[in-house]
């Protein structure tokens, strides 16, 4: 039996626009049935990479295979199998929301039930509104509906929740989670780290046209867990040396602000116990005790830098 090719296989992708190189030697393999979030600062090459997968752009170097097919040479066979949500636009200004959804559904042999899909995304109340009169959030949701209506096996979502309010974002997340649960492979780009953390099986961080980290959100955060910390408040001027000895060798104690103590390192139950035992030995109650774990956001900022692009 043939081995099923990965959903997406990118090797050494290069994409240039004039003098500017947007993607330089990018490698990425996306497994089937998984949800992969592509994170990166503006201009990192996310959309260029996705559009090479969708067959919109011709790579200047490297190879892209999607569901084992060449996105440009095999476009006719590939396109029915993928769903695409563009970052913006793509819809006739004068068309009514449901009319557009019904039309795109009519291009597939076995589309989803458009009324149920519209209701699911809160589009039923604005079905007769023309696209140009929809709110930004409604336009986004219609765009998502168009991407899923043909029952694709692989779906590319370019910033699916950009500009959505909290309710719409949650509705979108629930839909995306269900797509994944039903076996649809999802590749989404996002700026929202909590979105990636919540939804993604794997996160690819792209910067300057390359993948600089690719792992589960948990393991990405773990790679820097020696920078986790226990924080608590206590009377100022306690003996830091004694505390450092108590938590050594895994961590060390600091008092960055008078009366506020940090024990920084790879925080284990033993270190937590040593810290509270040390407080107990002094007859102190550590107030506001909390354990600070590194978030994906911290990792992202560490990897991509803090300067504005």
């Amino acid at each position: 039996m043939h081995e099923t090719p990965p959903a997406v296989e990118i090797a050494g992708l290069v994409k240039r626009y004039g003098d500017k190189t947007a993607v330089q030697g990018l490698d990425l393999v996306v497994d089937r049935g998984k949800l992969t979030a592509v994170l990166g600062p503006n201009g990192a090459g996310k959309t260029s990479t996705i559009e090479c997968c969708e067959g919109y752009r011709r790579p200047d170097g490297g190879a892209v295979r999607v569901l084992g097919l060449d996105p440009i040479a095999d476009a006719a066979r590939l396109r029915p199998r993928i769903g695409v949500m563009l970052q913006s636009g793509g819809i006739y200004q004068a068309v009514r929301a449901m009319e557009m959804l019904r039309h795109v559904a009519s291009l597939y042999a076995n589309p989803l039930n458009v009324d149920e899909l519209a209701a699911r995304l809160g589009l039923d109340s604005c079905g007769k509104t023309s696209f140009r009169r929809l709110s930004g959030g409604q336009q986004q949701r219609l765009s998502l509906a168009l991407a899923v209506v043909g029952r694709p096996e692989l779906i590319f979502l370019d910033e699916p929740t950009a500009g959505l309010d909290v309710q719409a974002r949650h509705a979108t997340w629930e839909l995306i989670e269900q797509l994944r649960a039903d076996g649809v492979t999802v590749v989404l780009t996002t700026h929202l780290l909590d979105e990636a953390e919540r939804l993604a099986d794997k996160v690819a961080i792209i910067d300057a046209g390359r993948v600089i980290a690719y792992d589960t959100p948990q393991r990405l955060a773990d790679t820097t867990k020696e920078q986790d910390s226990i924080r608590f408040d206590a009377p100022a001027g306690l003996d830091l040396t004694a505390l450092s000895i108590a938590v050594a060798p895994g961590a060390q104690a600091t008092e960055p602000v008078a009366g506020s103590y940090h024990v920084t390192g790879e925080i284990t139950p033993d270190i937590l116990a040593a810290t509270t035992a040390w407080c107990a030995s002094l007859g102190l109650m550590p107030r506001n005790l909390q354990i600070e774990q590194r978030s994906l956001e911290d990792v992202f900022l560490d990897l991509t830098g803090r300067e504005l692009r």
């Binding site: 029915p80 819809i91 291009l107 597939y108 076995n110 899923v148 797509l179």
Partner: protein
């Protein structure tokens, strides 16, 4: 002791066989299959026609303006006709040419320009509808609108005493080649320029062609030098040819058909070469 009773999930009344309500597990299970190509093309044609006929300016351009021109030029003694015969017999073929020009060229160029600008063509490129299928859908949509125009204009003309001559096959051939030439020019223009520039050029060409294309002013009213150039315009070839057949009963107007075929070939080649989808 616990007893579990398995009851089948109630089926939604409007659910097709084997379809699950969205929200139940498996309702998004992949099953990506394109609709049959013919159905896709027809759906695209119907969709574009519906959008076009909803657009006020396009209806004005495609239906109201030609109908008013036909009525006004025939009823009022403005302009002079040549070749004798009744005014309606002279004007009806010219206005039919205008109808083809407005739908296949002006309206299509503007619509396609804005579709390109708003990323509609890009979005449709991600559906199973192939690009040639999109063009086929557009062509079919043009033909649908032209049918509406022609029926309306012919009814008005017949009511005003029009007595057409000639072979309907020759007329259909002229209309088909004219549509191909104008449609090709529309795609070339809208595929190469920005939407706003397309809008301006398409309207400008529409007016110029009506003025100098033998629609209302006979070509022989222009000087010899101008006439020898103007007769090679696609609009002149179309109106000349239609008049040869419908007014004078010519069997097959080979000259105009040749000119239109040449324009169609050049325009479609230009569109194929220069059209950008984004």
């Amino acid at each position: 002791m616990t007893v579990s009773i398995d009851t089948p999930a109630p089926e939604l009344p409007n659910a097709r066989h084997g379809e699950r309500a969205l929200g139940t597990p498996g309702s998004f299970s992949p099953d990506p299959r394109p609709a049959p190509t013919g159905r896709m093309i027809f759906a695209q044609a119907r969709f574009e026609t519906r959008l076009l006929l909803r657009n006020g300016e396009q209806v004005l351009l495609a239906i109201v303006i030609p109908a008013l021109m036909l009525i006004a030029f025939t009823a009022e003694p403005i302009g002079t006709i040549s070749g004798g015969g009744s005014r309606i017999d002279y004007y009806a073929p010219g206005i039919i040419g205008v109808a083809v020009l407005s739908t296949a060229f002006t309206s299509q160029a503007i619509a396609t320009g804005f579709e390109r600008r708003y990323g509609v063509l890009k979005r449709l490129g991600a559906t199973p509808l192939p690009r040639w299928g999109l063009l086929a859908g557009k062509s079919l949509s043009i033909l649908m609108v032209e049918c509406v125009q022609l029926v309306l204009l012919m009814v008005i003309a017949l009511c005003m005493g029009w007595s057409p001559h000639g072979d309907p096959v020759a007329v259909l051939l002229l209309l088909a080649l004219g549509t191909a030439a104008f449609g090709g020019l529309a795609l070339w223009l809208s595929g190469a320029l920005r939407a706003e520039a397309t809008l301006a050029v398409a309207n400008f060409v529409f007016l110029i062609f009506i003025g100098v294309g033998g629609v209302v002013v006979p070509l022989d009213k222009f000087g010899h030098g101008a006439q020898s150039v103007l007769q090679f315009l696609p609009i002149s070839a179309l109106t000349d040819g239609l008049r040869d057949v419908l007014q004078h009963g010519t069997a097959m107007p080979w000259g105009p058909l040749g000119i239109l075929a040449a324009w169609a070939a050049v325009a479609i080649a230009g569109a194929a070469r220069f059209f950008k989808w984004e």
